[in-house]
């Protein structure tokens, strides 16, 4: 069990590329942390630096009270699950799991006990004699988890462990890993580019872009209060809609002037002093698909919060419908209960208490 402290960590490669830029994070003991971001954002490099597989160019990293910048991977008391599972192809499942303990000269009966315990938890007892090539993707995944588990490490590192599995198995394994975290009570650091995995599994999420942390928070806070447009767009599916708007304050009323409509946001922002600095200025209005509705009654009641957009496509999802709309050339998506007529202009109301306003230059949430 251990906390991890990363202070001003940099990774600069020989060709001068900065993969990780001033990364600082405190990870509590037993926490489940998710590193998420698009490809090339530095999340895997960060994980590899924690594992000791990449050197740290600048900064200080501690596991527990120990500075580990120059400690070899084997001495960091960590275990890692790789995207490709990285099982030893010439060893049986049993030996794959026992190998790390054998190297540490753990007595044989103790190794046997631990391997069988882990195999029981992961439901792979019947596979112990097989070679990795005789296993399915999901089974290999379990063996890779088992190999990490038997070591009882202080920190579990998982590098996109589910990305090679099919959609159904991924959902099952997501729950399994979450359960495993609770059962083991160990610090987990999990890298993924899948925001659904990030939202459903982590205690806290670290959103990264171009080697820089964009925001660190709990999944719900990240969703409700994104720090900037990148986080707002990255978290949530379908992603948040962004519309150009101008703030207009007249007669003690606050309006957002959009391309074809004007919506009144006084009730939401009247006590928000920062909005007054933007009077007459351009902002980006962010609204999530589920906060746009075509419910006739709601639209009727909130006539000053209505926009008109023409519907291009209905996407029926069973319990709900995605409307793909064209709003003065800007594409927006709404998640509603009932489908609408394609090709026609629709009246849609915006739930103004759910909107986000971003500075178009800095892309930062002006109300954060």
């Amino acid at each position: 069990m251990a906390s991890i402290s990363l202070k001003n960590i940099y990774k600069i490669f020989e060709d001068g590329t900065t993969a990780v830029n001033d990364f600082s994070l405190e990870i509590a003991d037993k926490e489940f942390i998710i590193l998420v971001g698009p490809s090339g954002c530095g999340k895997s490099t960060t994980l590899r630096m924690i594992a000791g597989l990449e050197s740290i160019s600048k900064g200080e990293m501690k596991i527990g009270d120990r500075t580990v910048n120059s400690v070899a991977p084997k001495d960091r008391d960590i275990a890692m699950v790789f995207q490709s599972y990285a099982l030893y192809p010439h060893m049986s499942v049993y030996r794959n799991m026992a190998f790390g303990l054998e190297l540490r000269k753990v007595p044989k009966d103790e190794i046997d006990k631990r391997v069988r315990e882990a195999a029981k938890i992961l439901d792979i007892e019947h596979l112990l004699k097989r070679k990795p090539r005789a296993l399915s993707g999901g089974q290999r995944q379990r063996v890779a988890l088992g190999r990490a588990m038997v070591r009882s490490p202080s920190v579990f590192l998982l590098d996109e462990p589910l990305s090679n599995l099919d959609a159904k198995l991924r959902t099952t394994m997501r729950t399994e890993i979450k359960k495993l975290h609770k059962r083991l009570g160990t610090t987990f650091i999990y890298v993924t580019h899948d925001q659904t995995e990030a939202m459903t599994m982590g205690d806290r999420i670290v959103v990264m872009k171009d080697g820089v942390i964009q925001q660190v928070d709990t999944p719900q806070k990240l969703y409700d209060k994104p720090y900037n447009m990148f986080v707002a767009g990255f978290i949530g599916s379908p992603q948040m809609n962004f519309l150009d708007a101008v703030v207009s304050i007249r007669d003690s009323q606050i309006y957002l002037i959009l391309a074809d409509n004007e919506i009144n946001v006084t009730s939401v922002f009247k006590d928000e002093k920062r909005i007054y600095n933007y009077d007459g200025k351009h902002v980006k209005l962010g609204i999530r698909p589920e906060d746009i509705t075509n419910d006739a009654e709601y639209v009727k009641k909130n006539a000053d919060k209505v926009i008109t957009a023409s519907l291009e496509v209905n996407e029926m999802m069973g319990s709900e419908t995605y409307l793909y709309l064209d709003y003065s050339g800007e594409k927006i998506v709404a998640r509603v209960n009932a489908p609408a007529t394609e090709g026609e202009v629709n009246l849609l109301a915006i739930r103004t208490d759910k909107i986000h306003l971003f500075d178009p230059k800095t892309t930062i949430n002006i109300l954060f």
């Binding site: 597989l53 995207q83 490709s84 990285a86 010439h90 190998f99 190297l103 540490r104």
Partner: protein, 280 residues
């Protein structure tokens, strides 16, 4: 002509061509074998006829060959040189290839090309300078020749190991490092077992070449330590007289071990060459 008939015709043609090639390659071995049982005076007269009542000499040629050549001593030296050279080639070139593939810089790139280049340098080009230098360095011993074989065998072996290693995921080695391996343990416990098919192929190709090699042992250690090909050559007496019977018998004895070795390992040769070629 239907497609089926065309396929049949094509296949028959391939069989005919392959049969002709097969016969062409096997007939010398067969001729040596039948002649080894004929009296030595009949060999030159009727080299292609099977032994009959008059010409059959039993094991006479074998007995006389073994006496004249010191075959068992030659067999010992051939075995010694082949085994240790192959071990050295497999061990050191696999390590070298691992270094070349995993440590990517200008030096390793240049090193790789040096190894590849060494494959195309014919032995005859370097043979006199090399034997002279080897003699001056005191390498004209069975141990010294092992070192020289390592040099000559390294090019192809490094090339083949590099081809295969490129397809081995780095993550396996990283997992080993996290599991607690130092670099030496990583190589011997994780990397080398994965390389087994290529290692076997390299071993077989080099074993066949070194076992059959005549020129290098003759030039370097021929006067003191005779390998089988060198010993067999000594059956050629002065003034062009050759004991053909003993010569044929010794040739048969010398190719038996390598044929057995090949038959046991042939599936690995194909597996290893294909693995290197496709995945590399």
């Amino acid at each position: 002509m239907s497609t089926k008939e065309k396929n049949m015709l094509g296949r028959t043609l391939i069989y005919i061509v392959l049969t002709v090639i097969g016969i062409a390659f096997l007939s010398p071995v067969f001729i040596v074998l039948i002649n080894s049982f004929k009296g030595k005076f009949f060999i030159s007269e009727e080299p292609f006829s099977l032994p009959d009542k008059d010409t059959f000499a039993g094991l006479e040629n074998y007995v006389s060959g073994l006496e004249k050549t010191g075959f068992f001593s030659a067999f010992g030296w051939s075995l010694f040189i082949t085994v240790f050279s192959v071990l050295a080639i497999v061990l050191f070139t696999s390590m070298t290839a691992w270094y070349i593939v995993r440590v990517k810089n200008k030096f390793t790139k240049a090193l790789y090309y040096v190894f590849v280049f060494s494959m195309i340098v014919p032995f005859q080009m370097v043979m006199f300078t090399m034997t002279k230098t080897a003699g001056e360095l005191g390498l004209d011993t069975p141990w010294g020749i092992v070192l020289i074989y390592l040099g000559f065998g390294a090019g192809l072996a490094v090339f083949m190991f590099c081809g295969f290693l490129k397809s081995v995921p780095l993550e396996i080695e990283e997992a080993a490092m996290i599991d607690g391996c130092n670099p030496v343990q990583t190589f011997f416990m994780v990397v080398f077992p994965v390389l087994k098919p290529t290692a076997i192929t390299v071993a077989i190709l080099n074993a066949m070449w070194i076992w059959n090699d005549y020129l290098l042992p003759y030039l370097l250690i021929g006067s003191e330590y005779k390998t089988i090909p060198v010993a067999v050559q000594y059956l050629r007496g002065g003034y062009g007289s050759v004991d053909m019977g003993a010569l044929m018998a010794m040739l048969v004895l010398s190719i038996i071990p390598i044929i057995i070795f090949y038959l046991f390992c042939q599936k690995y040769i194909i597996k290893g060459i294909v693995a290197g070629a496709v995945k590399g």
